[in-house]
Symmetry: C2
Subunit: 212 residues, 2 copies
DNA sequence: GTATGTGAAGTAATTCACAGCT
DNA sequence: AGCTGTGAATTACTTCACATAC
């Protein structure tokens, strides 16, 4: 599938991923069709939003009936690009890094960690979830050889920018950043920040002010 | 500080947290004032956005000069409620749960895990980061006794809704959810979902379509 | 001159309302 | 009748432009 140059928002892509997940859980037991209202209920999304998100990419539904579950699942997979295998690198094999290596949700969607690095000499050579931790000096070599386009940063903030620069120079286009710092990159590089402390800070604000 | 009933968006609160972080790093070495342009550069936010975010809560700056670093830092802390200690519960002491227990960013902001639970009998009684894993049956008791308002869910999707219900019944008001499922809760309960698989799905979409 | 604070303007995202298909 | 697909309306968020303060 080739998407017209229509601009798709981050929000839409994210929701598509949640639709795909609930469809995947359905597929076995359920046959036939599903409506946008049902998808909406399962994902806490208004049905009109579900339809609009899908409509950006074509007309997959049947008026009066809904969407064919199997077909829709395949379509969303295609749109998201999750029918392909993606190679991912990890920098920082601390407790968070190891949790990411072990996270089953990535493999399910076709994202495979194929290289892990750490500056800690004691960790180098050790194996976690079948990935052997390597010395940082091989970063560029591995990224190029394994055609890695997605890099994951799970190191303290102080080292994150430098690793980002090395990632980008080596050909990484997408960065999954768990370090609490906003990385400076060219516009064409995608960065997703998971800032756990800022996320939890929303709660103290809410508990204090009962608003947001 | 009491905030007028002006509606503050999630985006504003989140950004305030990032401003606070860069201010905290400055405080030692730097004296005096900082401008919205400087804060903006450090957090990848337009300066006009920085000023607008701050202006929701009062007039902390000085025209022609900027903001007093120490004072601004204190103000944002007050706004976010991070000058207080918040008790947090964790359900699910798998690799992700343990990474959360070990994450230093929470304590820095005043969020302390004070109870952890797991269904795995082998984990119960074990200690991680000074927290002893307890049997799930003590969930309600601990939440009430320790006045826990923030609960963290790091279990598979299949158990997440049931735990949510127990959380809410016991008095939890904010839920930090790492399970890949949209939890159903009353409107007054705050939920922040960290859906790692959906986040990474954005990358395959981008790599495939070079857009979002 | 320099930087804040803010109403007004602009942009983006969501929701409504309904025409049209099955 | 039931449900999709979509332009129009709405709401939310961001950026601009500039009056005001130091």
């Amino acid at each position: 599938m080739q998407i017209e140059s229509l601009k798709i928002s981050y929000f839409t892509v994210y929701r598509l991923s949640t639709y795909l997940r609930v469809l995947s859980k359905l597929d076995r037991s359920r046959v036939g069709t599903i409506t946008s209202v049902e998808i909406g209920e399962m994902t806490c999304t208004p049905d009109t939003q579900v339809r609009k998100d899908l409509a950006y990419f074509g007309q997959f539904g049947k008026s009066g009936t809904g969407y064919d579950v199997k077909k829709l699942k395949r379509k969303i997979s295609e749109i998201l690009g999750t029918r392909k295998i993606w190679h991912v690198a990890l920098i920082g094999v601390g407790s968070l890094g190891r949790a990411l290596l072990a996270y089953p949700g990535f493999k399910e969607r076709g994202f495979y960690f194929v290289a892990a690095f750490d500056i800690d000499k004691k960790k180098i050579g050790k194996q976690f979830n079948k990935i052997i931790v390597q010395d940082m000096r091989y970063l560029e070599k591995e990224i190029k050889e394994k055609k890695i386009k997605i890099g994951t940063i799970a190191v303290p903030a102080s080292n994150a920018q430098q690793i980002t620069n090395r990632f980008v120079d080596a050909g990484v286009e997408c960065i999954f950043n768990f370090a609490p710092i906003r990385l400076k990159v060219m516009k064409k590089i995608r960065v997703r920040n998971i800032d756990l402390a800022s996320e939890i800070a929303l709660f103290s604000f809410y508990l204090k002010n009962k608003s947001w």
